[in-house]
């Protein structure tokens, strides 16, 4: 079973493992095959057909995302026949939706847009006929515009196969097909847990992060990788930053462990607190019963004098400190060092028990 399979793609002799698809082998070898519905870690469905390639001896073009390699296979990924087929698919997708890049939030971050450009399509041969769905604007996290949906099904598969939240699916048939929660409910009226992974994987502008709309174009946004501040999983995520503000939060499967790109509602939509007007911006000292603004030096002097006096009068063990499960290792290290080395007590603990 461990035998290697030898095949040829675009004239290059490659070896593959049994069970690998043409697309996987090509990707490993750095050979470009466009995809839309393909999403790693989910079932290969071969729905969009933009990944078609020519296989010698095959009756038709084959979807490379679904076709397992076989010994001696000869594959061509960029013949005129292949390119024509891809153009047709992309033109049909373009024509069947409202893909107006001028106003689309995904402009610059759209796989359909990239394909149109790459395949050098000036305009579709078919009449552009958007279905005329109403835009779903009923929650503050996810905006859904089915007029831009290309029915690739990535959102459905990550919802069911990666997050296993089992909320999204296809409904209706043919040109009426659409995706959404059961009974065509809006997100907010469904059981949806708002992990937002459907939005992260949407290749077009059908699902977008509501609060990020009109907050900045993808090319202006800086992505800063960090670790989520909420629970103990330690999800790796990208804070999308523009003008000193977090615009949105996205996952990145390339970061690997521990979350392989997945996030939850808190990590995804729970970052409004960072830029919140209630944030403390200056030290405060209580005077005549009220907390009044003070400088750092005033605050340090106040604490230092009090702590020193109490320590001298009542001993170091009359001072206690609560460190924090919310702060970094470095800060916890310093806090216990402060209590032990500066104050002189082991009265240091944190909220692990609560």
């Amino acid at each position: 079973m461990d035998d290697k399979i030898l095949l040829t793609i675009d004239g290059r002799e490659l070896d593959a493992k049994p069970g690998q698809t043409i697309l996987e082998v090509a990707k490993e070898a750095g050979i470009y095959i466009p995809t839309l519905c393909y999403y790693p870690g989910t079932t290969n469905v071969g729905a969009c057909r933009v990944c078609v390639v020519e296989v010698e001896g095959a009756r038709t073009l084959v979807a490379s995302c679904c076709m397992p390699v076989s010994p001696g296979m000869v594959v061509k990924t960029d013949t005129e026949r292949v390119l024509d087929a891809r153009r047709l698919v992309v033109e049909l997708l373009w024509a069947s939706g409202d893909h107006n890049c001028l106003t689309c939030e995904s402009n610059g971050n759209c796989e359909l847009q990239d394909l149109v450009y790459r395949l050098k399509i000036e305009e579709p041969r078919f009449k552009i006929e958007p279905p005329g769905y109403e835009i779903e604007d009923t929650n503050s996290m996810i905006q859904k515009d089915m007029n831009k949906c290309i029915l690739c099904g990535r959102c459905v598969r990550v919802c069911n196969e990666i997050q296993v939240n089992e909320i999204l699916d296809f409904s209706m048939r043919g040109s009426h097909a659409r995706v959404g929660p059961a009974f065509d409910a809006d997100y907010i009226d469904s059981e949806c847990y708002f992990c937002g992974e459907c939005v992260d994987v949407c290749p077009v502008g059908a699902l977008t992060f509501k609060q990020a709309r009109f907050e900045g174009r993808p090319w202006d946004i800086e992505k800063v990788r960090t670790t989520c501040t909420y629970c103990g999983v330690g999800c790796q995520l990208d804070l999308n930053v523009l003008n000193g503000k977090i615009v949105k939060v996205t996952g990145n499967s390339e970061y690997g462990q521990p979350n392989q790109g997945s996030l939850c509602v808190k990590g995804r939509f729970g970052m409004d607190f960072v830029n919140h007007p209630d944030r403390l911006t200056t030290p405060l000292i209580r005077k005549n019963g009220e907390l009044k603004e003070a400088t750092w030096d005033e605050a340090y002097d106040f604490i230092s004098e009090k702590f020193t006096a109490i320590k001298e009068k009542n001993g170091a063990d009359s001072i206690a400190g609560f460190s924090s499960a919310r702060c970094t290792n470095e800060e916890n290290y310093l806090f216990q060092k402060f209590m032990r080395a500066v104050i002189g007590t082991n009265n240091v603990d944190h909220c692990a028990r609560l």
Partner: protein, 526 residues
């Protein structure tokens, strides 16, 4: 966790007890669900509440709150009597088995049914499932630990895992799922009253000498007091000053009225935080901190993986990272701390904490490393106790069931359990300021079983009063089968419904953790 998060998805069986993981650590919850739906793993859920995971479970044991030791002893009783235990493993790698065997003898499925309400046949089925799995992972969280028998409960989980040879193997283990981003790291760094970083005992002369040399001061060998012991120590006049960094005990700690009395009695209360929270409102000095997005550093996740955080935006106004504040205060008090970056602090940690010795910023730039990592050429440790337990032989603890400290009576006829909901985090200071999560879960709800609702004349969505011996709160009721009959569930995220006014400060004698999952409560329509 003894084992890694990734292993959960690919193990043969998962036993989830006292963890509502799909709401509290949703990404781990997804791994459990993937294990079941995509990889054919078996799932046993032991929980009084009908949590979402019960939908994915092969079997759900709905025990009465606080009966965990009895239930686990019952599972072990069946496993031993049916010969499903790992005899060779027990003989070679553990000690104390005979004493355990003797104690669990009386925990027959029928006896356990009397205590826990779990049908004897279900207990047998679950025991056989766990006992015959090739690799089985036990997941638990605060549903196991927040009891006066929390330590016993954890030891019981360890007993069960060792009994079937599930410790020190891929896909096995006893895996506490941590609820806060760096609760693991805060423990690792010695933010505990009895240990220095990397769990080196303060009582050990040798350890103290090492830290005295490194820090250039003499150090106390007297163990300190825990968070939960501080209120009494203040009331008794032993503690006069309290320095709180990044915590909100005035919502998160048990019996808030008592705590408030203590905090008000202090000579000085210093609170360092990102918002003026309920605790800060009582402070004499408040210091503004930078939040996670405004600073560099590391967090250690629940699988011991040390990962970088990176500064993305500037802190507002004069707010500063906590490490700078501590350094400046220490320097002001005559002990110079002149770190120029968090990397420098990590270098010091590398020197003093053996399990972190090899974890440098350079090495964790792309992917975090799980400790123990004793040197810079060590890859880190995916799972603990491989081939040999840290202490040598794995020790079985023979443990008897002890009921919770405060059980229902005529005056307070129901059980109150507290915890979190998906959309909020801890005392709500962050998530309640987030638009989306607050839109999804705008107010605190009291979950109550339909049978109880009928008995006490309570309607779904109507306001009710919830009272214990320590206090009372009002909130709207959510009538739902998620709560078992006789138990109500209230979250602790909302200051308007501060459920910790109600909770029992009774502590586990060793872990000093309060019994948040069981206290006696009375309800009435408000």
């Amino acid at each position: 966790m003894t084992n890694s998060i990734d292993e959960i998805e690919f193990t043969d069986l998962i036993l989830a007890t006292g963890t509502n993981t799909t709401e509290n650590h949703p990404v781990i919850g997804s791994k459990v669900k993937r294990a079941v739906r995509r990889h054919g793993a078996k799932l046993i859920v032991i929980d009084p509440r009908e949590i979402d995971l019960t939908k994915y479970a092969d079997i759900w044991l709905r025990q009465k709150p606080g009966t965990d030791v009895a239930v686990i002893n019952g599972l072990m009783n069946v496993i031993i009597s049916e010969g499903l235990h790992a005899e060779k493993y027990i003989e070679e790698r553990t000690e104390g088995f005979e004493a355990l065997k003797k104690v669990v003898e009386k925990y027959t499925p029928e006896y356990v049914e009397e205590i826990s309400g779990i049908p004897a046949e279900d207990l047998k089925t679950a025991a056989r499932m766990y006992g015959s799995a090739k690799s089985a992972s036990i997941l638990y969280a605060m549903g196991i630990t927040q009891h006066t028998t929390g330590t016993d409960n954890v030891k019981s989980c360890a007993n069960l895992a060792m009994l079937c040879g599930n410790m020190g193997i891929e896909g096995g283990g006893v895996n506490p799922l941590r609820g806060q981003n760096n609760v693991q790291g805060a423990c690792d760094m010695g933010a505990l009253p009895v240990v220095f970083p990397a769990y080196q005992q303060v009582a050990s002369d040798e350890v103290r000498t090492k830290f005295e040399k490194a820090w250039g001061v003499s150090l106390s060998g007297t163990p300190g007091i825990t968070v939960t012991e501080v209120p009494d120590a203040v009331i008794n006049g032993k503690v006069k000053a309290l320095y709180v960094m990044g915590e909100n005990p005035m919502l998160s700690d048990p019996d808030l009225s008592h705590l408030e009395k203590a905090l008000k009695k202090l000579d000085i209360l210093v609170v360092q935080d990102i918002f003026l929270n309920e605790t800060g409102e009582l402070a004499d000095v408040v210091l503004p901190s930078a939040c996670f997005a405004e600073k560099d550093g590391t967090f250690s996740n629940t699988e011991r993986r040390v990962q970088l955080i990176r500064k993305a935006v500037d802190a507002p106004g004069d707010a500063k990272p906590d490490w700078q504040i501590i350094s400046e205060l220490a320097t002001k008090m005559g002990y110079v701390m002149d770190y120029s970056s968090t990397r420098e602090i990590m270098n010091e940690i590398n020197e003093l904490a053996p399990s972190y010795a090899g974890i440098t910023y350079e090495r964790i730039e792309k992917e975090g490393i799980p400790w123990p990592c004793p040197s810079t050429d060590h890859p880190g440790t995916k799972y603990l106790h491989k081939d040999k337990f840290t202490r040598g032989l794995g020790l079985f603890h023979a443990i008897d069931y002890i009921p919770p400290a405060e059980l229902p009576d005529d005056e307070y006829p129901l059980i109150l359990s507290t915890g979190r909901v998906l959309y909020h985090f801890h005392t709500g200071t962050m998530t309640r300021r987030a638009k989306g999560p607050s839109e999804r879960y705008p107010e605190s709800l009291v979950e109550i079983n339909p049978a109880d609702a009928e008995k006490y004349g309570i309607e779904d969505g109507k306001s009710i009063k919830v009272a214990t011996r320590r206090g009372s709160v009002e909130a709207r009721a959510s009538v739902t089968g998620r709560s078992p009959e006789g138990t109500i569930f209230v979250n602790f995220h909302f200051r308007e419904v501060a459920v910790n006014l109600l909770t029992n400060p009774a502590l586990d004698p060793i872990g000093k953790i309060p019994e948040y999952k069981v206290c006696a409560v009375r309800i009435e329509a408000a």
